[in-house]
């Protein structure tokens, strides 16, 4: 089905996507994407609207099942189409428990408090007793500076606060990788800073991250691998210098257009 993982030198690869293809009907959204994310690495993905960035990100935790290609996490292949293999049926769930995801629209659960948003998966997925789960959840809310808001419901929080709760909700599961899908694009400009600050601290703490963002300053600061995507393919990738010295005309044009 796919080649064996190349056991590279350190740092080890955590996420490996090989030759990913995905179509929605006749819309060919991902056209053979390869992506390797190493432990502790910060990958930044940018590109025009509709180029397939979100679809690619959702493929990493199998919220989207690719039509072909393979998805690896650490030393394990997770899909697609591995139904009769040694892994149990909840394969995608096992994968998702190790990967955190933060959404553009926050997607907090509006019917429960900030505390319960963070504690829910601890209780239901990790089967942690309620007092322990709440203690852990409160500690993570404290990490993102929201200990005083633990009784608040999402609608009672600002966008920036909601996104920080969402980050805590993912982090509390102690993921090995964090995925961010345009985490600041739904925020009022004055609230972008507080969320980027949390993400920057997280990057400094050594978390492996894949971030789709149009905050080029963030990419220049923390992006170890920066990827420009357009129409379902990786057009160009590189280190921090990519933002100033892009080679491809399409990358140059895009960077110019969003500055």
């Amino acid at each position: 089905m796919s080649e064996a993982p190349t056991n590279g030198s350190d740092p080890q690869p955590v996420v490996r996507l090989r030759e990913i293809h995905k179509s929605f009907g006749s819309n060919h959204v991902l056209k053979g994407i390869d992506l390797t994310v190493h432990k502790g690495e910060h990958v930044v993905i940018f590109g025009p609207s509709g180029s397939g960035k979100s679809t690619l990100l959702r493929t990493i935790n199998l919220l989207e099942t690719p039509d072909s290609g393979s998805v690896w996490f650490e030393e394990q292949e997770y899909g697609p189409g591995l139904d009769d293999e040694d892994l149990p049926k909840g394969r995608a769930r096992l994968l998702r428990q190790q990967i955190g995801m933060v959404f553009q629209q926050f997607n907090l659960f509006p019917h429960v408090t900030a505390l319960d948003n963070v504690a829910l998966a601890l209780r239901r997925v990790k089967r942690m007793p309620r007092p322990d789960a709440e203690m852990r959840a409160a500690a993570y809310l404290d990490r993102v500076g929201l200990l005083d808001k633990l009784g608040a419901y999402p609608t009672q929080l600002s966008g920036g606060q909601q996104q920080r709760v969402a980050i805590a909700r993912s982090l509390v599961m102690e993921p090995k990788v964090m995925l961010f899908d345009e985490p600041t694009s739904a925020l009022d400009p004055e609230l972008v800073g507080e969320v980027l600050a949390v993400m920057r601290s997280l990057a400094e703490s050594g978390m492996t991250m894949v971030v789709v963002t149009h905050e080029m300053g963030f990419g220049e600061e923390v992006g170890d691998l920066n990827i420009f995507m357009d129409e379902g393919v990786v057009v160009e990738e590189g280190g921090r210098e990519l933002y100033q010295h892009a080679q491809e005309p399409r990358t140059q044009a895009f960077l110019k257009s969003i500055l």
Binding site: F109, D148, A197
Partner: protein
């Protein structure tokens, strides 16, 4: 027991005490109306939930079958349907069910369609991102449905469901046609025997008004119970809220006290 109907002038006089004098007969009818409405509504809710879930199933065969079920049963006038279920089916084919059971069945079959459509739209109204967020932290499909989608859908459907409950109280009167001695049937008998039409039907109207108003306030209360307030900042009143607020405060203090000295753990200033 009833007055003889002779004196036209006496008939024309308004005698409100007449209702009171015949309260026992009324009360039996009211009781039956309440029981029919409650039982039929409970059954419709359960069946309606099943209808909604089956209609949302991805199966190409189940979903159209349920759509047909809904569209057929909804399209029949309820009065006609009550007659059909009891005389047309139950009596004709010799099923041994009582008129009350047949009436409840007819109400349930029809109301499960209306409620099923309400529940389906409620489930669909929950943003897709909610499912994605739940699955992204590793929750299973059932967990996602019961812990994330369903509680939100429930809040969405409370107001339209309350309308349906009020409708059920009113529509339960239609089973009078198959001889079920509920409020309307009892009123008809009493009025026809005594010619006290105004008093009797005024009493009937008032009782229905009381029942539907009570239902309205019951659902209003349910809606209020669903309101989301931060117990730490709101003016705490109920003992439940006070206990919850105390628990959250204790949690905050415990976390603040055990805050590690490791600054790397902190991602933001408080």
């Amino acid at each position: 027991m009833f007055e003889p109907a002779i004196d036209i002038l006496a008939q024309a006089r308004f005698r409100p005490e007449f209702i009171w004098d015949n309260r026992d007969i009324f009360i039996d009818g009211v009781w039956l109306t309440i029981r029919i409405a409650l039982v039929a509504f409970a059954l419709s809710t359960a069946l309606g939930l099943a209808v909604a879930l089956l209609r949302l199933s991805k199966s190409w065969i189940i979903s159209p079958i349920m759509a047909t079920y809904v569209n057929v049963f909804r399209a029949i006038p309820l009065l006609v349907f009550v007659l059909f279920v009891y005389y047309g089916v139950a009596i004709h084919f010799g099923f041994s069910i009582t008129a009350i059971q047949a009436g409840v069945l007819a109400l349930t079959l029809q109301y499960s369609c209306w409620l099923g459509e309400i529940f389906r739209s409620g489930i669909q109204a929950v943003a897709h991102g909610q499912r994605q967020a739940a699955m992204s932290v590793g929750m299973s499909r059932p967990q996602t449905f019961f812990r994330v989608v369903m509680p939100q859908a429930t809040r969405i459907v409370v107001p339209p469901t309350s309308n349906m409950f009020i409708g059920m109280i009113k529509d339960s009167s239609l089973v009078y046609i198959i001889g079920v001695p509920e409020l309307l049937r009892v009123s008809n008998l009493l009025a026809n025997r005594t010619f006290r039409y105004f008093e009797v039907y005024l009493g009937t109207v008032i009782v229905y008004l009381i029942l539907t108003t009570a239902a309205y306030f019951l659902f209003k209360y349910i809606e209020q119970r669903f309101q989301l307030v931060d117990v730490l900042t709101s003016k705490v009143r109920s003992p439940f809220a006070r206990a919850r607020s105390r628990r959250l405060r204790a949690l905050q203090e415990a976390v603040a006290a055990s805050r590690g000295a490791d600054p790397a753990l902190r991602l933001a200033d408080s």
